[in-house]
C-alpha cells in the first residue's frame, strides 16, 4: 500500500468518518474492493449496535476515486461463476456494500472532490447526499470501456437526475463538472474547494438537530430545510 493508509474509519462526536486512502487515487483494484467491503461490514455492524449522527465518506487525498481498474475488473469477472440464472456471490456481496448505504438509519454524505468516476461515482450515488467541491469531475464512463455501471450507477443516477440526465450521463460516459452535477440533481450542494468536509459536518449536524428520526426513504426532503452558504434554503 506504500504511503497510503488504507480505509480509515474514525468517529468524531457521533459521526462516522471514512477516509479512503488507497493507492493511485483510490483506484478500485481487487485490494480496494477487499478493503472497502471490510470497512463497510464494520460500518454495518456499528450501525446495528448504536445510534450515530451520520457517516461521511471522502477521499483522503485530492480525489474521491478514479474508479475501477478495468483489467482487474475483467479478471475478477472471469473468475466468478454462476449457474446461468443467478448473479455471482462476489458481486452480490460487493453490491450490497454499495447499496446498503441508502438503508442506513442515519444520513450518509459523500464529499466529492477531484475525480469521482465509475464505481467511485457509484459510492457517492448510493449515499443519501453528495456535496461536490468546485474542482470535482463526475461521471460513469463504463460505457467507454465496453461495459455499464452495475453497482447502482444506473438505478441511483436515474433516481437522482431523472431519466434524461441519467441516460445521457451513462450512455455517453462523459465526465461532468460539479456545477453541472448540481444542475442536474446529482449533487445536492456545491461548495468551494476544501470546504466539503466542513459542509458535511454541518449538514449532518443540521439533520440531527432538526430531525427526531432520519427516515431514509424520504431522505431528499431533509435537504430542503438546510440553509446554503448564503443562509437561504436549498
Amino acid at each position: 500500500m506504500g504511503d497510503n493508509k488504507g480505509m480509515i474509519l474514525e468517529e468524531r462526536e457521533g459521526i462516522l468518518i471514512l477516509s479512503m486512502d488507497m493507492p493511485r487515487n483510490n483506484l478500485m483494484t481487487a485490494d480496494f474492493f477487499r478493503e472497502y467491503e471490510a470497512v463497510m461490514e464494520r460500518v454495518e455492524k456499528l450501525a446495528a449496535e448504536r445510534a450515530y449522527k451520520g457517516l461521511i465518506i471522502r477521499g483522503a487525498g485530492r480525489h474521491f476515486s478514479v474508479g475501477a481498474d478495468v483489467e482487474a475488473l475483467a479478471e475478477r469477472t472471469a473468475a466468478e461463476f454462476t449457474d446461468g440464472s443467478s448473479l455471482p456471490e462476489g458481486h452480490i456481496r460487493q453490491k450490497h456494500f454499495f447499496t446498503f448505504l441508502r438503508e442506513l438509519p442515519f444520513p450518509v454524505v459523500s464529499v466529492v472532490t477531484g475525480f469521482c468516476i465509475g464505481s467511485g461515482c457509484e459510492i457517492a450515488a448510493n449515499s443519501h447526499y453528495r456535496i461536490a467541491e468546485e474542482n470535482a469531475r463526475i461521471g460513469q464512463p463504463e460505457s467507454a470501456f465496453g461495459m455499464l455501471p452495475a453497482l447502482g450507477g444506473i438505478a441511483r443516477t436515474a433516481e437522482l437526475c431523472g431519466i434524461q440526465n441519467a441516460y445521457e450521463l451513462v450512455m455517453s460516459g462523459d465526465l461532468i463538472t460539479a456545477e453541472r452535477a448540481l444542475a442536474i440533481g446529482w449533487a445536492d450542494i456545491l461548495v468551494p474547494k476544501k470546504q466539503g468536509f466542513q459542509e458535511a459536518l454541518a449538514l449532518i449536524g443540521h439533520i440531527s438537530e432538526n430531525t427526531e428520526k432520519f427516515v431514509p426513504c424520504r431522505y431528499r426532503s431533509y435537504i430542503g430545510s438546510y440553509p446554503d452558504e448564503r443562509g437561504e434554503r436549498i
Partner: protein
C-alpha cells in the same frame, strides 16, 4: 409520418399526433432511441383516450424517446417523452450518445433505463447487474455468466 432509421436510432417526422406512433411498424424492430420531430401544432393525442394510450405506449416502449421541442411545442407532448432536446441538440444527438459503444451495450443500457421509468429501484439494481454480466461474458470466454 416518415421514419428514418440510422443504426439503433430512428427519426420520425411529419407527426401531427403522437397517437400515430402506435401504428408505426418500423418501431417494432431494433430501435433504441426514437427522435421525434413533431409538426407545428402537433399534440399528444386528439382525445383523452388517445393521450392515455400514447402515454402507456411510451412508458412501455423498449426504446427511449427524445422529443425535439421548441417554445411552441405542446406541453403534454414534450412531457410524455423521456428526453427533451432542442433542434440544435438533436443534430448528432444519437452519435454523441452511441459513438464508440457496441450494439449490445446500447441495447442493455437502454433496456435498463426503459425499465427505470416505472420499475422500483430494487428491480433496476438487479437488471443493471444482470446486464453487466451479459456484457462481460464474451470478454472472458462467455457462457459462465447469467444470461
Amino acid at each position: 409520418m416518415n421514419v428514418y432509421k440510422k443504426g439503433l436510432a430512428a427519426e420520425i417526422r411529419g407527426l401531427s399526433s403522437l397517437y400515430q406512433l402506435l401504428s408505426a411498424e418500423e418501431l417494432r424492430s431494433d430501435v433504441c432511441l426514437l427522435i421525434i420531430y413533431p409538426d407545428c401544432g402537433a399534440v399528444l393525442g386528439r382525445s383523452e383516450e388517445e393521450k392515455s394510450a400514447v402515454r402507456r405506449f411510451l412508458a412501455e416502449a423498449p426504446f427511449m424517446t427524445a422529443a425535439v421541442c421548441g417554445d411552441d411545442t405542446d406541453k403534454e407532448l414534450s412531457a410524455a417523452a423521456d428526453i427533451r432536446i432542442s433542434s440544435s441538440e438533436a443534430e448528432g444527438y444519437a452519435e454523441r450518445l452511441f459513438g464508440g459503444k457496441s450494439v449490445a451495450q446500447i441495447r442493455e443500457i437502454t433496456a435498463c433505463f426503459a425499465a427505470a421509468r416505472t420499475a422500483p429501484a430494487k428491480k433496476v439494481l438487479d437488471l443493471e447487474s444482470r446486464a453487466f454480466y451479459r456484457l462481460m461474458a464474451p470478454a472472458d470466454g462467455g457462457g459462465s455468466h447469467g444470461r
